[in-house]
Every structure is written in structure tokens, then in C-alpha cells.
């Protein structure tokens, strides 16, 4: 296969565009989920909040305003084809440069800071970048401006194998119950089962990239997703935690092989905006 050259400047421009779009344009899957759940929601307060979320999305789109003031810490998933050569600059810097330009030019909030001195860097960099090498000549960028109201509620636990399926389910349901209104329900619950400490967390986050309503190809895992979704929506938490029958829009589960001595489970919460945009170069 012939090598293909992609300019760093093109990557910067793409990341910039995706950051702005993700923050100002609510995904069509989210709009559909809101409309569908409105018909099913039993709480009148819940239905009123839903109407306001749609109004919020309309204002944001019309005025290029961020949907939410927490414009997130930017997580970027990069899939690089093995035959791709990045020319004209450093790939990490190209990505961060796109984030920097987007947040400055589109008046998005700078939220990144030194974890100990708490000194804000002022430009929302650096992004958290996850790169994977794949066959081919393309480069795929997925930008996730991750809000921390939902991120803060997320957890990883390395269970003993004896915890089994019951232990996994109990952990997830309990975590959603404890998080209550904090992650801005209706939420999307990303679950990573298996791997190591960091792999479980990473596949949980990656599962959030799937559109709402998208099922895992393995029927057993798809069944687990639907079962968890039903249980979560029985908790009564509802929109914004004010009571109702729509606590989650979806549950996405991803798995990875693990060690004979462990059962890692990560849960990554996503708020109702479920922001992510992708592009293939």
C-alpha cells in the first residue's frame, strides 16, 4: 500500500472545527433520544425540563453559543492508518493547537489547570489524546469535550472474579443511584469490563462514542446493556434528579480479555449533552 501524507495543519483545522461543533451543536442521536423519552416520561416536571433542553439546543445552534458552560476537558481519539505520514509538524502539538484556537476563537471556557497549584492554563490545553495504530491510509479524529460533573461520578473497581455478573450489575446500579442528580441525567452510562486498571477505564470512555441506541454486536452484551438500562430507569432519579422515569438514555458496555485473578469494571458517566464529533481525513 502506498504511503499517504497528511499535513499537521489540516489536523489542527479539523480538531478546531470538531471542538466548536461538539460544543454548540447537539447530536441528532441526543435530540431523537430527548423526543422519544418525552413521550414516555411520566413526570410533568421532567417533560418541562425536556422542552427546555430542546430550547437550549436551538439557541446554542442559532447563536453559536456553547450548550453548556462546562465546555469540558478535550479528549481526542486518534486512529492512524499505518501508511500515513504526518508532515509539517508534531501530531500532539497539531491537536493541541486546534484545541487552543477553538477555545479562544469560539469563546469556549478554559477549564484545564495544574492539579496541585490549581493555576488555570487559560487555553484549555493540553487535550487527553488516545492514539491507536490501524491498517490503512486514513486518519480518524474523534473529539469529546468531556464535562466533569459526569466525569467526577465515574469509578473503576478491580473486583475478585467471584463478584461475577451479579457483582458487576450491583456495582453499576449502586453507582448510578449514588450519583443521583450530579452527572446531569438523563445520562449515558459507559461500562468497561475486563483488561487492566487503565484499559477498563479507556474502553468505558470509548463506549460513549457509540450513538445513543447503538447496541453492542454481541447479543449477550447487548442484552446486558438493555437489562441495565431498564433497571437504571426504575430508580426514579429522572431528569436532573428531580424524579422521573428517564434517568438514562442508554447504557453502553465494552469488554476486553482480563487476567485469571481479576474482574475490572469501569463506569464512565456522560451527561445528557453526550458531546462528540468525528472526522476522517
Amino acid at each position: 500500500m502506498a504511503r499517504r501524507e497528511i499535513q499537521a495543519a489540516e489536523i489542527t483545522q479539523t480538531v478546531k472545527r470538531l471542538c466548536i461543533e461538539a460544543n454548540t451543536h447537539l447530536g441528532s442521536d441526543v435530540i431523537e433520544a430527548i423526543e422519544k423519552s418525552c413521550a414516555e416520561e411520566k413526570s410533568p416536571v421532567g417533560r418541562d425540563i425536556l422542552r427546555q433542553l430542546l430550547e437550549n439546543a436551538a439557541i446554542a445552534k442559532k447563536e453559536d453559543l456553547p450548550l453548556c458552560q462546562d465546555t469540558g476537558m478535550v479528549v481526542v481519539f486518534v486512529e492512524i492508518g499505518q501508511e500515513v505520514h504526518i508532515a509539517g509538524g508534531d501530531l500532539n502539538e497539531a491537536i493541541n493547537s486546534g484545541v487552543r484556537q477553538a477555545y479562544k476563537e469560539a469563546y469556549l471556557r478554559a477549564s484545564t489547570l495544574d492539579p496541585l497549584t490549581r493555576q488555570n492554563y487559560g487555553d484549555n490545553t493540553p487535550a487527553v489524546i488516545h492514539m491507536t495504530l490501524v491498517p490503512g491510509t486514513k486518519l480518524k479524529l474523534t473529539v469529546v469535550p468531556k464535562g466533569f460533573g459526569s466525569e467526577n461520578m465515574s469509578r473503576v473497581v478491580l473486583f475478585p472474579p467471584s463478584a461475577g455478573m451479579d457483582g458487576i450489575k450491583e456495582f453499576i446500579i449502586q453507582l448510578v443511584e449514588e450519583a443521583g442528580p450530579n452527572p446531569c441525567p438523563p445520562i449515558v452510562v459507559g461500562v468497561g469490563i475486563g483488561g487492566t486498571l487503565e484499559k477498563a477505564a479507556l474502553i468505558a470512555k470509548r463506549s460513549l462514542l457509540r450513538p445513543i441506541g447503538g447496541r453492542h454486536p454481541d447479543p449477550a452484551i447487548a442484552g446486558l446493556e438493555l437489562e441495565l438500562l431498564e433497571e437504571i430507569n426504575k430508580l426514579g432519579i429522572g431528569r436532573q434528579g428531580l424524579g422521573g422515569t428517564t434517568t438514562a438514555f442508554d447504557v453502553h458496555v465494552e469488554t476486553y480479555p482480563t487476567h485469571i485473578g481479576s474482574l475490572p469494571v469501569a463506569v464512565n458517566f456522560q451527561c445528557h449533552c453526550a458531546r462528540h464529533k468525528e472526522a476522517i481525513l
Binding site: A60, P66, L67, G149, L242, G244, C271
Partner: protein
Amino acid sequence: MQTAVSVTTPLTDGILAKLKTGNRVVINGTIYSARDAAHKRLVESIHKGEQLPIDLKGQIIYYVGPTPPKPNAVIGAAGPTTSYRMDPYTPLLIEHGLKGMIGKGARGRDVIAAIKKHKAVYFAAIGGAGALISKSIKGARIVAYEDLGTEAIRQMEVENFSAIVVNDIFGNDLYQEGRQRYCQKVTG
């Protein structure tokens, strides 16, 4: 659905006595923004016996870190942030005269007790509705801790700012009540 109760700042005991958990309200008047870093500084000032940069008596603090305003705009997106992070600081601020808070998410036991004891109120605004909420903010200027950027304290003039009463002076909690009403989980 019930009509909204109109609330004008500063909050008095008379207003607070009328606000009940579950009431929808529209807030008018002056409110102040403050989140994590500003709370830390306010409480440190109280501990050092320093004068606070704002007079808390009868005031409402809104937990928000807005996005920067576009040219000629008053403010950017400005929805509530999660409130529990302010819990370690809140009872002391209530003791010093703070009467209202706007945020999202449940408060800790100490905050709920301070709300009841000193007569205050905790409102929830809609998390993730930052663009919509910004329309009810008609004025904003930084009055303290400018170096904190989005976390600086802003004096905001609000008109018909929508919120819902979560914790009232009677010790009620909407998050508990709302969840119980719709919970279908079988315990046992």
C-alpha cells in the same frame, strides 16, 4: 403544573418562609457567581478575620463558571455546576449571612442542617441548559478575584431566572422526594 413564585433579592425571612420544596421560582435582582476556587478564598478570609469582598447578607450565590462573553454580549453560556463540591465551605457562609444558593445536585447533611437552622434556601437550575439560562442574565461584572478567570466572583443582574426549590427552611429535600415518587426498584 403550578405557576412560578416570583422572588426578588435580597432574600428576607418573610420570602424564605413562603418557599417550599418543589416550588418553581423566577428570581429577579442581583445574585453573585462563585464556584470552587472563590469559595476556598472566601472561607480563608473568614478564618483570617478579613473583610469579605462582597457582603453576603441576604444574598444568593450562583454556582457557575460561565464561558467568556462574545463581543457585545453580557455573558456566555452560564448553567449551574455541581453543588456538593461547595459543601465544605457552605455552612460557614450561611452563618455569615448567605441566604440562597443556586446549583445542581444534592447537598450534604451539614449544608441541609445549616439551611434549616439559619433559614436559607437551595435552588436547582437546569444543568446543561447554559445557553438558555444565559438569556435571563442581563448584567455581569467581576467584583472579586479577577485572577481566577471563569471562577472570579461576578455580580449578576438577573430577570426571571428559572429555578426550583430543593431545600427549604423546613428541612425538606426535593431530590429525596422526587426519587421516591418514581422509584420502582424492589428492595429486599
